[in-house]
């Protein structure tokens, strides 16, 4: 079981899905890759609430999919049930992606740094890794091509949130400032939703900053759990808003009745 959120009548996976969903704009055109249960739930939730015309390509294959439940893989047939089109990967998906017809990309990783760069390749030196991870897959591609990047992590610790990633598998704001823009890439990370807080990014430095704290979490808690410095706030930080009973009911009973989202918490 995942931890319950104090005073909110929901668990942390549910709060993260709802926060993710609310961060999705009505014009979202998104897709998902492997082990992306939280975004998949969020796309469906947003579509069922404030963003009815949101476009979601399930597993980057099933456009406008309407699965009866989120299955145990977010990259296999179960998730694209009810799709209006099955896209062919090289000819459809990659043209839609590189042409920026999609505008939203979500990814997570073993390490995320202060500028939203992500590592899912190796921990340690590349040639003598401490841990050989899965690899970036399409992360290096899509982080460059897609303007609106949404990050998430279910393991907010100093091991995950590091000052600098050991390997840049996915590009966020690079070295910060105008680094991304100067490389001709549009947009960048807009949000990073964790099990402790919601991060945004400073407009100028492109450094992560806390947008809201989850209930029961203090600035000090986040600061201790984060491997890079966070600016001490001058005023109390907002608390991540409470999910509505409609949102929770949709998520629990309609979208993800088998609790696939909890597969991201071990």
């Amino acid at each position: 079981m995942t931890a319950s959120v104090p005073g909110y009548d929901c668990t942390i996976d549910e709060l993260m899905v709802v926060a993710f969903s609310r961060a999705l704009l009505p014009d979202t055109r998104a897709f998902n890759g492997a082990v992306s249960f939280i975004p998949a739930c969020a796309f469906m939730l947003a579509r069922a609430t404030h963003a009815p015309n949101l476009v979601w390509s399930a597993g980057s294959i099933g456009i406008d999919a309407a699965p009866k439940a989120i299955p145990e893989s977010t990259l296999s047939d179960g998730i694209w049930q009810g799709a209006t089109m099955l896209a062919n990967s090289p000819f459809d998906f990659w043209a839609h992606a590189q042409g920026a017809r999609y505008n939203t990309f979500s990814f997570r990783g073993a390490q995320i740094d202060r500028h939203g760069n992500v590592n899912n390749t190796v921990i340690g030196e590349y040639d003598a890794p401490k841990v050989r991870l899965a690899g970036g897959g399409g992360m290096a591609d899509l982080s460059v091509m897609i303007p609106r990047i949404m990050l998430w992590s279910t393991t907010h610790t100093p091991r995950t949130f590091v000052r600098q990633v050991d390997f840049r598998s996915g590009f966020g704001y690079g070295d910060g400032g105008n680094d991304r823009e100067s490389r001709g890439m549009r947009g960048g990370p807009v949000v990073c939703i964790t099990n402790l807080c919601v991060f945004g990014f400073d407009q100028n430095t492109k450094h992560m900053k806390i947008d809201s704290l989850h209930p029961g979490v203090s600035f000090e808690d986040v600061s201790t759990a984060t491997g890079f410095e966070l600016t001490t706030p001058s005023a109390p930080l907002p608390v991540t808003p409470r999910p509505t009973s409609t949102e929770l009911q949709l998520l629990r009973d309609v979208i993800d009745p088998h609790g696939a989202r909890r597969r991201e918490f071990s």
């Binding site: 990259l75 296999s76 841990v131 290096a140 591609d141 840049r168 590009f171 690079g174 597969r263």
Partner: protein, 311 residues
């Protein structure tokens, strides 16, 4: 100048390309560079991969864009020395532990790209072009890994000043892909249509081995020619392998088999017990049918949408 009457060993035009699983795999030399079809838990040519392991092939290079179980099997069996890939994992079931240990212990060299960099390299190979451009990978450390070889390199378009990555040709010897139906001459199709990147491998490779759920008459292709995925001149060998992608999925015929993945991951924790498991349940069965039977796969794997076994 080549005489038009010169006899040829080229089997491309052959009317009957059907071989047994063992004969088809016997033709794969040690050290070959193999393009492996499928993506993650979907559509991998597992029957062919298992036969490669059984025949003790060595020193193979696998080109696999996004892969998992087949690469881990080959790593566990000691069949591969190099993997050209963008990602190897068992998704929600965890890391591919034998692949991981192979790379960490430097028994397996990983030549690492991203998905679209590999697609572009395969397209350059297929089209016979020096490179295919993409914006993929700009600014990431993936490009840094290839500074010396220049297989993918950042360049600037002199006309527009835009940065792009030039992806050079990726030569492969043999493509292995699984499909739903093929005829004896090697026309083949995936139902309802190809969604993964297998076509990039087939187009890039001079030799393709197709494994197929069913062998059908050529008339089945003539009746619905718009559904053909690979024409016969792009394929060289046809292997009849029903349920040939299990334990990965073959949409829309069957889903991946969660139970096998769970058993495999559970066994992977301890190397001694893993060897016993791997030998008994993967390598030892004398035929593909016996492998399916022993692991209770054909029955469990036939239902679509069975992937709902969540925590």
């Amino acid at each position: 100048m080549i005489s038009p009457l010169q006899p040829s060993l080229d089997t491309t035009n052959s009317a009957n390309k059907v071989l047994s699983l063992s004969d088809a795999v016997a033709g794969i030399p040690d050290g070959a560079v193999i393009g492996l079809g499928g993506l993650s838990m979907n559509s991998a040519p597992m029957a062919v991969v298992r036969e490669i392991i059984r025949q003790g092939k060595k020193d193979l290079t696998m080109v696999a864009l996004v892969a998992g179980l087949p690469i881990d099997w080959l790593a566990a069996a000691g069949s591969i020395s190099r993997v050209v890939t963008g990602l190897v994992s068992l998704e929600g079931f965890g890391l591919a532990q034998h692949f991981r240990r192979g790379v960490e212990g430097r028994k397996i060299i990983i030549e690492e790209y991203s998905e679209h960099l590999l697609i572009c390299r395969l397209q350059a190979q297929a089209h016979g072009l020096p490179f295919v451009p993409t914006r993929a990978g700009l600014g990431t450390d993936v490009l840094r890994l290839h500074k010396d070889t220049g297989t993918v390199r950042e360049e600037v378009d002199p006309a527009t000043g835009e940065h792009y990555v030039a992806c050079t040709r990726l030569p492969i010897d043999i493509a292995l892909v699984h499909c739903h139906e093929a005829d004896q001459a090697g026309n083949a199709r995936v139902n309802p249509k190809l969604i993964w990147m297998d076509n990039e491998l087939v187009n890039a490779a001079p030799h393709t081995i197709i494994s197929t759920e069913a062998i059908v008459e050529t008339d089945a292709f003539r009746a619905e020619p718009w559904r053909t995925t690979y024409p016969r001149f792009m394929t060289n060998t046809v292997v009849h392998a029903p349920f040939g992608a299990l334990p990965t999925s073959m949409f829309p015929s069957y889903s991946h088999n969660s139970t096998f993945y769970e058993r495999y991951v559970a066994a992977s924790g301890d190397s001694k017990s893993f060897q016993t498991f791997f030998e008994r349940y993967v390598v030892a069965p004398a035929s593909w049918e016996e492998f399916l039977e022993l692991n209770d796969l054909a029955k469990a794997g036939t239902a679509m949408g069975s992937g709902h076994k969540n925590k």
